[in-house]
Symmetry: C2
Subunit: 334 residues, 2 copies
């Protein structure tokens, strides 16, 4: 998978893995952030560590054969409350993880130094570094997939928060009378606007006999497609998702003051069908409120294709940074 024009990787190669509720992606990149190898599989929740180790192993074998190079470290991007010092992850509700010593287990399995970072933060850091110095020093990456969370970079620094939960906007109240969220609370943003919420709303309406052009059990992508094609039920659902995400983006702009918001995650695969309705709602609010107009003046709202694998590339970059750090033994790879 190494393209001919990239036959000479620079610096240490690292593997970055983004473990999502639906799919797991692996990339191997060099120090210039060039992708030398890439693979995407369905997430095996029953054997996360085994699956990651196997993915890395396959990549290493192929890279050794093709270029004689090996992977030197592993970075994993994963949702939940990540302890980067110990490489552990807790409360990744969408993966069924209560507490997992992911870094140490992966090191034992692969023999490679293994680091763990929160998925949205890994992606946000990658976006921030990729676009510096031309870009904005602060940004929020809002990942909308099986869950919803944000990675927030302020002046080039990742915001972690004293409680380690900075960016967990998926569990901010969006509709207090809404459905119960996987976290236990009612009406979290995630419970009304993430992928499963989109599918559930369609399922419920279809089960209740609403007429629609959609087949039974549509995916979020099916719902967005049907909405674009004029299906009334689908438009209602995607309109509600856009309402909630536009408000969440306003909340980010008026809480942390970011002028750059990047939307990503599996649901973002819907592309303009997701982005444009959100943009229209923000533009409408800007026309009404001088405060919102100021908040979003010169602001950018972008869509990151899920194919970009920002989380996996960020994880690979973080692994490379960690093995290059003199504090590696202290902070990293136990």
């Amino acid at each position: 998978m190494i393209a001919p024009w990239e036959m000479e990787p620079v610096g240490p190669l690292t593997a970055g893995i983004d473990v999502g509720g639906t799919k797991t992606a692996l990339v191997v990149t060099d120090s210039r952030d060039r992708v030398l190898y890439e693979q995407v599989v369905a997430t095996n929740r029953a054997s996360l560590v085994g699956q990651i180790a196997e993915l890395v192993d396959t990549a290493r074998r192929q890279l050794r054969t093709e270029s004689g190079r090996d992977v030197e470290a592993i970075g994993v991007a994963i949702p939940g409350r990540v302890d980067t010092a110990h490489g552990s992850v807790r409360m990744a509700v969408n993966l069924g993880i209560t507490d997992l010593a992911l870094g140490p287990l992966l090191k034992a399995e692969s023999g490679l130094p293994s680091f763990v970072e929160h998925d949205a933060r890994a992606a946000a850091l990658w976006l921030s570094e990729r676009d510096t110095p031309t870009g904005c020093p602060s940004l929020a990456y809002l990942a909308v997939g099986t869950g919803i969370s944000a990675g927030i970079v302020i002046d080039g620094e990742l915001l972690r928060g004293d409680n380690g939960l900075a960016g967990e906007v998926g569990h901010v109240a969006a509709d207090p009378d809404g459905p119960v969220c996987v976290c236990g609370l009612r009406g979290c943003l995630e419970a009304v606007a993430a992928g499963p919420a989109i599918a559930r709303q369609a399922d419920e309406a279809i089960a209740a006999g609403r007429s629609t052009s959609m087949d039974a059990h549509p995916s979020p992508a099916d719902v967005f497609r049907a909405g674009l094609a004029g299906d009334e039920l689908a438009s209602e659902i995607t309109g509600s998702v856009a309402d909630h995400l536009a408000r969440a983006i306003r909340a980010l702009a008026l809480t942390v003051g970011v002028k750059r918001v990047v939307l990503g995650g599996g649901v973002a695969a819907a592309g303009p069908a997701l982005l444009e309705p959100i943009r229209a709602r923000i533009d409408h609010e800007r026309a009404i409120s001088p405060l919102v107009e100021t908040a979003f003046a010169d602001a950018t709202l972008e869509l990151l294709s899920p194919v970009t694998e920002a989380g996996a590339r960020g994880a690979a970059a973080i692994a490379r940074r960690r093995i290059g750090s003199p504090q590696r033994e202290e902070v990293g790879e136990r």
Copy 2:
């Protein structure tokens, strides 16, 4: 007003003024943050600059007479979008300010270097510095008065945001079907939970014939008092305010990750009648959701008495810092 045990002020004296939608407070403090003079008046929206200059003038005359000391600089804490470099303030909707060159005007009027800071940020910085090094390096000060806004300190640094609007959580959506806010949008937190919203809800219910022990046109303090005394209408209103503020605090904990939240502003004068229902709601969410439990574990939620004048003291501290800074001419007092 100088207490006998404080007869020898240390370092330069500065005046700090907190301009609120309802009242304006002035303090004069020394470099040990001791209050040497204090006065609170009703805000004169028609003549803000004149009122501040007059307050400062009165304080200076008294201090000169009593201690032979003079005020060396002025700091003003004010809501809205503050440009600290130019000393200007825009969009202070609750004060009817569109754009005001407050610092330059005040300097022309008083002859003293004059600095301007956002009110909640001034208070947050004061709280953060007062409690360091024993306290938490990060905190959010949530001011609930005529408006609602937050001052956010991350690792000892004020968060301003690329758009200058970090902390403007009063205009985050709280109830999308709620009343229209002064900012123009519908259902902002401020429109359902700030002082005027509390008074308006009582007025509307009384006008609609709801039975209550409250007199016509109760103040927010009256509503909290009646709620404590068991008045059903008042309890409904204060319960709804507590719902909204508890959600706003959860949003702060899950967006910027703070473990210390301080509630202040005029509405906070209600004391435990405001704080305890909020605490109860957060405790309830903690019991349901492991994520919220983690977010608030070891966290503190405090109430700051409005008598503390955190905004005015923060403004005085900022003025002292600015005149002590070598960059004063560049950044400050034009």
